[in-house]
């Protein structure tokens, strides 16, 4: 699988990452090499094989629906990079002139 620089940009946009300069060529080459390794799977005949999705032996583990508070307001805000006394502070999301 050939990975183009445009493909790297497209994936980076989806993953909310940015690769510039030499890093972009490096990740492009790495992806190409790793995918080449992964393409070996095409040798395995998987006709009619159901994909294996869940590894747990459980289905529907149910519990009583009881309301309880697991963390406090203060705990929730403890690790915020920016906050005031009640809320998370984030950079402006809506452009008021827009």
């Amino acid at each position: 699988m050939r990975i183009t620089p445009e493909k790297v940009d497209e994936l980076a946009a989806l993953a909310r990452l940015k690769f510039e300069g030499g890093e972009k060529e490096a990740i492009r080459a790495d992806l190409e090499k790793i995918l080449e390794m992964c393409e070996k799977l095409n040798e395995v005949d998987t006709t009619g094989v159901e994909p294996l999705i869940y590894m747990t032996e459980n289905s529907n583990v149910l519990r009583e629906d009881v309301v309880h508070q697991e963390i406090t307001h203060e705990q929730a805000l403890l690790n915020a990079p920016k906050k005031d006394s009640d809320f998370f502070r984030v950079p402006k999301v809506i452009d008021q002139n827009g």
Partner: protein, 473 residues
């Protein structure tokens, strides 16, 4: 300081008054101070460990001490412990403090374990050498020019160098067993669903398991038994009752299966290959059944593993957004730039590589060709593994294809590094329990490990087999 090899010895010495928890803790703290170059710990909780030691000492005196009294344990830096930092060895979680304690850790505390600190690892548990940590490499105490293995490298070296008695690691594709093999320790990857992952920073949720790294099989079984069992906070945990393990070497004869493709693999170190053949001969001579089986899927395991784990990682790690916790870039000026710059500056190279690969295999154009294909191959691998374990009690194989490699030896080539997982990913792909036990030393003095794998939830048999193999070392 006396080196206890078993928890039962610590217990006996505590009860007879030969040693106190306080003395044990001081001994470990001295050693940690004496060997900072190993870089096994990211943080040492010295004062707290001393305080806990005093509490447990008084419980010992009053005869109320739990089963892990005096057992000094280190936690891999991916496990939540309330009021303590946890960072997954990543800059993106620098300064993050856990607001609750995960189930596995809480169960250790409930039995009076003393937690001494958090250990270095590959960032978000992604790596096989501990070279992907944002906080520097960990050195193998057997040879400081070599890696300790990964991703639980710090947890392994902490026990290897006598900086604590036991540690917790996590194993997604070999991250407990491979470092245990590289450092001469017992490392257990339990059955998927045996131990709750509540409070574990997720990497690949259909693979991750928490397990112990110890000096002995007995200690490993005790710590696992304490952590195992149902948990209301993790619905992927099996609802089977909490297990109890009896560790003794068995008189009965077992059937061992050896994978032809593994022992004949061109990448396998000849010394390790000879060790497997020698063990097979000895087991056969003692009346155990040893059979060789074919597993033509060996070369497909690492590719399937990387497709599926990177897909899950790209999804799990989308939570690191720079908004509610963790690192936020100073370049963030709107929503989109908060995401992009916080993640780009906060994650290390290998983590970004895996997120990108995972994003690729999940993208609509390639989903069927890669992700779905990986899931189909996973089913075939699990079926074949089950078939083999229908014929044998256990699969016997080396833990790693080589002893510990040199620092920097594989870090430039991701594919070469990924192949370090060749013999360990099967257990994670199929969900089976597998243990690595210290085996022998190469002529250069590097430890090697021998690996056993059993059917799901056969940890009891696995420990019994591990114990049985000890006499052939």
């Amino acid at each position: 300081m006396k080196d206890h090899t078993r928890i039962s010895e610590i217990r006996a010495d505590l009860e007879s008054g030969v040693v106190t928890c306080a003395e044990l803790v001081e001994g470990y703290l001295d050693r940690i101070d004496a060997q900072p170059e190993l870089n096994a710990f990211l943080e040492v909780w010295a004062d707290e460990a001393r305080e806990q030691a005093r509490r447990v000492d008084s419980k010992v005196k009053s005869g109320q001490a739990g089963r892990l009294a005096g057992v000094v344990i280190a936690l891999k830096d991916v496990l939540a412990y309330e009021g303590h930092k946890v960072s997954a060895s990543s800059k993106i979680l620098e300064g993050f403090t856990s607001i609750y304690t995960g189930t596995a850790v809480q169960r250790l505390l409930d039995e009076d374990a003393i937690l001494i600190g958090r250990t270095n690892c590959d960032e978000f548990a992604m790596g096989a050498s501990n070279e992907n940590s944002a906080y520097g490499v960990v050195l193998n105490a057997a040879d400081k020019s070599r890696v300790p293995g990964g991703s639980s490298g710090g947890s392994a070296v902490a026990v290897q160098a006598g900086l604590c008695h036991a540690s917790l690691g996590t194993d997604t594709g070999g991250s407990i067993r491979q470092p245990a093999a590289f450092t001469g320790l017992v490392g257990m990857k339990p059955t998927y669903g045996l131990v709750s992952r509540w409070g574990l920073l997720a990497y690949a949720s259909s693979f991750d398991q928490i397990g112990p790294i110890t000096k002995s099989v007995e200690d490993n079984a005790l710590i696992l038994e304490i952590m195992a069992g149902p948990d209301a906070n993790d619905s992927t945990v099996s609802q089977r009752p909490k297990p109890h393990y009896e560790v003794k070497s068995a008189d009965r004869k077992f059937r061992f299966g050896i994978m032809q493709e593994a022992v004949e693999h061109p990448g396998l170190d000849p010394f390790i290959r000879d060790s497997v053949y020698k063990l097979a001969d000895q087991l056969g001579a003692d009346g155990h059944e040893v059979g060789f089986f074919h597993f033509p899927l060996l070369d497909y395991m690492v590719p399937a593993y990387y497709i599926l784990t990177t897909a899950e990682a790209s999804s799990n790690l989308s939570r690191y957004s720079g908004l509610m916790y963790g690192y936020r870039s100073p370049d963030a000026h709107d929503l989109e730039s908060t995401y992009i710059y916080s993640r780009t500056q906060g994650f290390g190279q290998e983590v970004k590589r895996r997120i990108m690969l995972g994003t690729f295999v999940l993208s609509s154009d390639y989903y069927d060709a890669y992700y779905k294909k990986g899931q189909q191959v996973r089913r075939i691998i699990r079926q074949k593994t089950e078939e083999i374990l229908g014929q044998f009690d256990a699969i016997l194989l080396p833990t790693t294809s080589t002893p510990a490699f040199r620092l920097g030896e594989k870090s430039k080539d991701p594919v070469a590094m990924y192949l370090a997982d060749l013999f360990t990913v099967q257990a994670n792909l199929a969900g089976n329990p597998a243990i690595s036990i210290p085996w022998n030393s190469t002529p250069e003095g590097l430890p090697t490990g021998m690996q056993l794998m059993c059917n799901h939830f056969e940890e009891q048999k696995l420990y019994e087999l591990a114990k049985t193999l000890e006499k052939y070392k």
